[in-house]
Amino acid sequence: MKCNEAITFIHEYMDGDLDAQGRMDLRQHLVDCAACRQRMDQYTRTTALIRSMPRSPVPDYLVDSVMQALPGTRKRQVWTRWVRQHPAVTAAVLFIAVMLLSLVSMWDSDTRLMVKGDDLDQLIITKNQVIVPAGHVINGDLYVENGELVVEGQVNGNLVVVDGRLNLASTALISGEHSEINKAIDWLWFKMGEWVEAVTP
């Protein structure tokens, strides 16, 4: 038997396809041929190693995500089942959804100038401007919506301007942080932060 013939026999042997006569012929060749013995050993080790490959863990959520991706009524059923199983989470999600909806509508409707703060007496407030005059000191935070906040004096607190502009003169002195929020989405985040603070003792 030649080596290339023997190699075919080796493959067939490994596939369980070699008959008795073939196995005997192959054995005889392997006794005589170190190269083919080595090759067979390498095939055996290769396949043993493939078989021993560890399997990566399958994500737990796979069944649910498969079921949810199915078309038709299936999706709704999965959703309602989930709702039944997670009443508390569902309630929380609904609550947030309702809050977001009311916020968005508030955002659209409210365009008047609004000022909030602890120390409003010293401010000059016009139709669309709030001014902290030079030489005056405001103790506390200032919150301005829908207008420009001009700071010429001093503020011992934080400044927040929503949908407006913050104008700091060179004389301005602010001890706290200041931020301008001009996009609805930023404002949402800001409001949510406010609520969280409000509900956190």
């Binding site: 050993d41 990566s56 796979l62």
Partner: protein, 190 residues
């Protein structure tokens, strides 16, 4: 008596979603491992599992329950993996796959474009070498090697899954085995 899977498939076809869920439970791991090994990353493996079951679901009417359910679902899963490998390949804008038997070693550049490390799994050095060697096999050998040695299928079963003559499967098992041996040998693994 009818087997479990054909029974579940029949129930699912008539709208029993729990029966279908049962089928997902039965096969998700096997399809996931198949896809993970074929494609080499977890995200794509998940996608293939999703797509496979979606196809099974939408084609339940066409499932012929005189055939093994496993053959059918493996065929869908394997074809989805091969499609993905083909797409990767065409995005690399390479020539058509070379004819049978050629280019086993010439396809090294076709290994997954972003081989993610086996994240949740610590592989020994040996296992990494094997993984890379499988990863770099051309698709037609890869699928067969994976079905044969990681899913313990007989040549006949593989022939049914891939819908190819058993002689072709045999030839490819032999060539796949030789390609892997050669790769490991080149890396002085033996």
């Amino acid at each position: 008596m009818e087997g479990l899977e054909p029974r579940l498939a029949k129930l699912a076809r008539n709208g029993d979603r729990d029966a279908f869920r049962e089928l997902v439970q039965l096969y998700k791991d096997r399809i996931y491992h198949l896809a993970y090994r074929m494609l080499g990353n977890a995200q794509e493996a998940e996608d293939v599992v999703q797509d496979t079951f979606l196809r099974v679901y939408t084609n339940l009417d066409r499932y012929d329950d005189t055939h093994k359910f496993s053959t059918w679902i493996y065929r869908i899963g394997t074809n989805l993996c091969i499609d993905r490998l083909r797409k990767r390949k065409s995005t690399l804008s390479l020539d058509a796959e070379s004819s049978e038997g050629e280019g086993i070693d010439g396809h090294d550049m076709l290994s997954s474009p972003d081989p993610l490390p086996e994240q949740q799994l610590v592989l020994s050095e040996t296992q990494q070498v094997i993984r890379d060697a499988i990863e770099k096999l051309p698709a037609k050998y890869k699928s067969i090697v994976i079905l044969r040695y990681l899913h313990d299928m007989s040549l006949q079963e593989i022939s049914d899954v891939l819908n190819m003559p058993i002689t072709t499967i045999k030839t490819r098992v032999h060539r796949g085995r030789e390609a892997l041996r050669k790769k490991l040998d080149h890396q002085h693994f033996f």
